[in-house]
Symmetry: C2
């Protein structure tokens, strides 16, 4: 059951991809689109708002909407899970656990995961790859209440997110990410097959449930020659996506 406004958004995206509306041209007026799709103006506005958020079209009061780009930014779905993103790109996600052990929660762990210092939490070091090529190193700390479920996952599981959803119903709903750059350390270089001091794109993140409860926090390091992030933005809006090297 997809909503009508999502169907319309999809049809417009495809029309832009097919170059029925070319980059730089004007989209039909809201009232025309409403008549064409047999819906009210409000529903059309919901649909075009999605395309605007993706950076495909721009708008300003009084003038018709402009088509800005034809390539679709895949927004968040693929940022949420490395495996989902890889699949959407037509590449195979691989994963391998290097080490997995319990440590008492430090003060930092306790603050980020909203639990008491000293609670045993699971630390996992995971190498992730695209078509077998290592591109990402994840150093993740899981909250105590989810640690047992994570511990029982096999070492080469391709999608931990998917597995946790199947096993426990857990959904990763919200994330807070900080992106910067670091030099590869000895372990980074070794596991990613690159030279020491190579530049890496680092993403430190905290993921929470739908209810706002922290599940994990992680230091993720991407090989900068393999992955980048792209951002569309406008005065009102912006959208982030993960990209592979061209």
């Amino acid at each position: 059951m997809t909503a009508r406004h999502e169907e319309i958004a999809d049809e417009l995206r495809q029309a832009i991809d097919r170059e029925e509306y070319t980059v730089g041209s004007l989209l039909p007026a809201e009232t025309d689109l409403a008549a064409r799709y047999g819906v009210s103006r409000g529903t059309v506005r919901q649909a075009v708002a999605a395309l605007t958020a993706e950076g495909l079209i721009g708008s300003r009061q009084g003038a018709r909407r402009v088509v800005l780009a034809s390539r679709r930014s895949q927004s968040f779905a693929e940022l949420r899970s490395f495996a989902q993103w890889a699949n959407a790109m037509g590449r195979e996600a691989t994963g391998h656990v290097v080490s997995q052990e319990y440590h008492p929660a430090t003060k930092e762990d306790a603050v980020r995961l909203q639990l008491s210092a000293g609670t045993p939490v699971l630390h996992v070091l995971r190498v992730r790859g695209l078509d077998g090529e290592p591109v990402l190193l994840e150093r993740t700390v899981y909250a105590d209440w989810i640690s047992p479920a994570v511990e029982s996952i096999e070492a080469d599981c391709a999608s931990v997110t998917q597995r946790l959803y199947e096993d426990t119903g857990l959904v990763f709903a919200y994330g807070e990410h900080v992106i910067d750059a670091v030099s590869a350390g000895a372990q980074d270089a070794d596991l990613l097959g690159i030279r020491r001091t190579s530049p890496l794109l680092r993403v430190r993140r905290v993921t929470t449930t739908r209810e706002g409860r922290p599940v994990e926090w992680s230091d993720d390091r991407y090989r900068s020659d393999a992955v980048s992030f792209s951002v569309h933005n406008s005065i009102d809006n912006n959208a982030l996506a993960r990209k592979t090297a061209d």
Copy 2:
């Protein structure tokens, strides 16, 4: 003249900042908010959609909205202009042009700026700082039609965006950014006062007008110890912001 839904969004943000609604607690129902502010449900939905986009609150059908965070992400305004962002942080933006010269547009320039190869375009190398400390190196190529206006700006102008708006009415409306990490080269290291091979956060971007016309493209390199990017996201939405080192 601010719209009512923006006023309500502001009041809700402030209430969350004041901890009238604490992180993890539930927001009042839409109908209650509508009654409280004397508006229709649609207007309340427009207001809370803004907070959702900023990552402050989460929502799902059937359950009340959850407060996820109290710190506001400043979304795009400060990403658009380095100077505007610095000012919003209470820091002083500085700028200095290192070199400025015309070159015939390469094929890459021509594609990105939508003009003919060989057209003379202005290349500007600019060091930008926070409170006098250099943190960003911009290598920018301007389209031919705006180059003369850029050329006449004084070398230590703090906000080129602001100046171009005042002089020509030009508004930077949309941007496409690609973020990755690189090692500092000799010139990077020299101008930013860091060691060679230090990791830098690189942002390559194309900026366009409201009509979708490309204005400039740039290779921006940030000192990773001084600036990072933060992203809030959810299943439906995400928002990027620039952050200084803590």
